[in-house]
């Protein structure tokens, strides 16, 4: 399964300046003091430069989506097959009947900025309306009280003209304040109603956005399912083919020590169009009978570490 139309060459520069090049870079015999950890290699492959001075630099094609699922192959590797298969299909450029709809929905969503609802203004308006309402109530009670006193003084035929005059002045003052505050209250209520009306129409747009977001989510799920369907048969066949290699008495392949999760990951690597190197543990290439057969069976550039 070599070839496939990709250039599988890549180069790794180790921190001591030595360079290893692939399609198969074997770091098993490299100087233990400079050889990077598998995780450092993965990071360098995934992220490219700039590289920390004490880390490896990898010159390789950028990793595809499947890389995130099978960047490292070791005896304890497991892979979530459905997401990994969706990534395989995406890297293969599999088209699904939902692609156009999804692209349209995403475009519409981006074009539809959320309508501004001025939340701070609304809050201020709510507070003013509430305060004006409370103040009106307070003054209304005060007017009633003062009016009661005036009436009592008048009805009592009190000789205390001074008290009556003071009470009447106080009543007229309270009435004036009440009328002012009542006007404010009407204005505040109108302002609040206006802002709420505006917020309501802005929410129509938000509602459309929310529907689009839901549509995008549904289409993404449909695309993922269609992608998985598109490569599921290949995955099954390739897994059988790998297992068959191991059963072949004439070959050096021996998967007896390979867990099912790792076999899934190996199969994903085998069916994916992989350009950037995958980091394989020595025990993994040993199961294939060496680096070269592993490279050929997996059809992927390898860093053995």
């Amino acid at each position: 399964m070599t070839g496939g139309g990709f250039d599988r060459r890549f180069a790794i520069r180790l921190p001591d300046g030595t360079t290893e090049s692939g399609p198969i870079a074997d770091l098993r015999d490299a100087d233990a003091s400079v050889v990077p950890a598998a995780s450092q290699l993965q990071r360098a492959i995934r992220c490219g430069g700039p590289n920390p001075p004490d880390g490896p630099a990898v010159h390789a094609p950028p990793p595809g989506r499947v890389h995130a699922h099978v960047a490292r192959l070791a005896s304890d590797t497991t892979v979530r097959t459905r997401p990994a298969l969706a990534a395989v299909a995406a890297d293969r450029g599999v088209e699904t009947p939902h692609d156009d709809d999804l692209a349209d929905a995403i475009r519409s969503f981006r074009a539809l900025s959320p309508a501004p609802v001025c939340d701070a203004d609304l809050r201020t308006a709510r507070r003013r309306a509430a305060e004006a309402g409370a103040e009106t109530e307070r003054l209304r009670e005060r007017v009633a009280t003062v009016r009661g006193r005036v009436t009592a003084l008048r009805d009592g035929g009190s000789a205390d003209d001074e008290a009556l005059t003071a009470a009447e002045a106080s009543l007229s003052e309270a009435t004036r304040r009440l009328s002012e505050v009542a006007t404010e209250r009407v204005a505040a209520a109108q302002r609040l109603a206006l802002l709420e009306e505006r917020a309501r129409s802005a929410r129509d747009r938000r509602e459309t956005r929310l529907r689009l977001e839901d549509r995008i989510g549904n289409l993404e799920r449909a695309v993922r399912a269609a992608r998985i369907d598109a490569v599921a048969d290949d995955f099954r066949d390739a897994r059988h083919a790998l297992a068959a290699l191991s059963r072949d008495a004439d070959s050096d392949v021996d998967f007896s020590g390979i867990a099912s999760g790792l076999l899934d990951a190996l199969t994903v690597v085998r069916i994916a169009p992989i350009r950037a190197p995958v980091v394989a543990a020595p025990e993994v290439t040993a199961a294939f009978g060496g680096p070269r057969p592993a490279f050929e069976a997996l059809d992927s550039p390898l860093v053995i570490r």
């Binding site: 939340d119 917020a199 802005a202 929410r203 938000r206 509602e207 929310l210 977001e213």
Partner: protein, 112 residues
């Protein structure tokens, strides 16, 4: 009751979680909206949602509708008469023609 309506995925998620965690305060749930009991705790939940998601949360206070107090008699009578009509396929405006019942455009114009 307090009607809480959400307008973004995050706000909807928060509302769902709040409803799951505070069933005693939730009267009804409808997808991205919920009716909360009119208690201080209902107000507390509604206010928290508004604090967190600002304009993506709408809070309204609802009241039971009393057709005898909240709408003119003519409207109530028109609705009752229309629902009791003999021919189910008659549109309202044709039904109302030649009667004292208000026409639908006039009702649309008038606020309660």
């Amino acid at each position: 009751m307090l009607l809480v309506v959400t307008y973004s995925r995050r706000a909807r998620e928060t509302l769902r979680n709040a409803c799951r965690a505070h069933e005693e305060t939730v009267v009804r749930r409808f997808g991205r909206a919920a009716l909360l009991r009119e208690t201080e705790y209902g107000a507390f939940l509604a206010y928290r949602l508004r604090e967190r998601h600002a304009a993506d949360v709408q809070v309204e206070r609802t009241e039971p509708f009393n057709e005898f107090a909240d709408a003119p008699d003519a409207v109530r009578e028109a609705a009752a008469a229309y629902e009791a009509r003999e021919s189910p396929s008659t549109p309202y405006d044709r039904f109302a023609t030649g009667t004292d019942h208000p026409n639908s455009d006039a009702m649309r114009e008038r606020e309660l």
